[in-house]
């Protein structure tokens, strides 16, 4: 568990399966049954071919840093109290780039292309936020 603010997500019909799987420590993605496109973030139709025939599957939970920033000033009270922290886009091995945090490491150790794996921060409300740490 990192020391970053960990607010429970607001879920909707599209995203509920994703957040439910986080309770079991599973990072899940949708794949289009019609054209095989891997989809991020969750939605009801494939943005490539407009098919509604989508399937959930478990991702490996590993990827690489696509970009990152060490945030030194954050206007929010909770986030302002935990600077510096690392905001990043992680490119999963399945293709999609997720906005997330890199945690449990020295911010100076993060670089583009750093290999990372998912770690979970429990929200206390039946789900968890996916964050990443260097492998």
């Amino acid at each position: 568990m990192s020391d970053l603010p960990t607010k429970p997500p607001r879920t909707n019909e599209d995203s509920a399966p994703f957040w439910a799987a986080t309770a079991e420590g599973r990072l899940t993605l949708q794949r289009c049954a019609a054209c095989d496109t891997v989809i991020w973030w969750p939605r009801s139709l494939c943005p490539e071919c407009s098919s509604f025939d989508l399937e959930w599957f478990d991702a490996t939970g590993e990827g690489s840093v696509y970009s990152y920033t060490v945030v030194h000033h954050s206007p929010g009270r909770r986030w302002g109290a935990v600077t510096p922290y690392v905001l990043a886009y992680v490119e999963l091995d399945e293709g999609p780039r997720l906005m997330t945090n890199i945690v449990d490491c020295d911010p100076a150790a993060v670089a583009i292309d750093t290999r990372v794996r998912v770690v979970w921060d429990d929200t206390g409300e039946g789900n968890a936020l996916p964050r990443f740490t260097p492998i």
Binding site: W79, L87, N101
Partner: protein, 391 residues
Amino acid sequence: MSAAGSSRGAAFIAGVYEHPGRKIPDQSLMEIHARVCVGALNDAGLSMGDVDAYFSAGDSPGFGTLSMIDYLGISATYIDSTEMGGSSYIAHVNHAAAAIVAGKCRVALVSLAGKPRTGGAQPGGAGRAGGPEIDFEGLFGSTVVAAYALAARRHMHEFGTTSEQLAAIKVAASTHAQHNPNALLRDVVTVEEVLDSPMIADPLHRLDCCVITDGGGAVVVVGPEVAADLDRHCVPILGAAEAPKGTANGRIDLTHTGAVWSGPAAFAEAGLTPADVDYVSIYDSFTITVLETIEDLGFCDKGRGGPFVADGNLQSPGGALPFNTDGGGLCSNHPGNRGGMTKILEAVRQLRGEAHEAVQVPDCEIALAHGTGGSLAARMGSATLIMGREL
């Protein structure tokens, strides 16, 4: 003659006005809208009774465009509330020109107002609360600066861009702002001062960021018959286009903006190329916004923006691409956290020969204004507007 359906030369900017204030505690958001609307109409030699189309975006209070039409006393036959953040107003000019070409209206009024510096009403945003992306982007401490920092970091990685090069953009803007008595920041800064300012979100320093100001502005767009009856120098719209850019199903590319699409479309309509442009107003929420945009619009090759700006090309006069001669959002004004309006206003001043004499581009015949609304690291609305001194 313009091509069928094209706006080229079929609509004109007849009036512009920028609120002189940067801290406006004593005027309501509505009054700021009203003052800039009347200011722009006065500049054109028109009155509120001449207006038959009104355009505003998410900064309008209450029921938005409808509330402001009610407040201002406009009788409109055409209404547009297109919301794409700070670039909305450049898109509004595009839409106004198209509506005029289609015969839907004759005198279109576009306005912006905001009070983020002294409080009061904030730009809208409640409608975004339930967006599909919300908690996949919102729970990780992303800030506006941090989002643009993600783009800057990736641009540096792919192309070798440096913080010193980004700082050169701020230096050029500050060099221009010293001549603008209304600019919030009038001190000329050096590259070293930018790099020595506090790091906000690595690699962006405080001086890589735009100012936060109260303020507003308005534009009047008219058709050729109206323009012909006015004594004021009316600036023809030669080309205009807009383009959304999103997260591309999780395959977002942080090294370019939507200008890669809006730019070529606007140039095609105008029948011009980047080499024809004498002055540019480039949306400058952050230094990286300018860098990516000038590459995307074709003023230099992709990835070469760093050396281009470091060579002094943005300075006016004398640079190859004089930019933001009012000081831009980086130094002068970013009313309501929305910088698209002021981009139009300074471009019109340049084409009329009414910029400050120290920064007026000699013989300025073609000007471009470009807006980037939203976030470089998620979804944005890009809008490009090309105008001429005359047809």
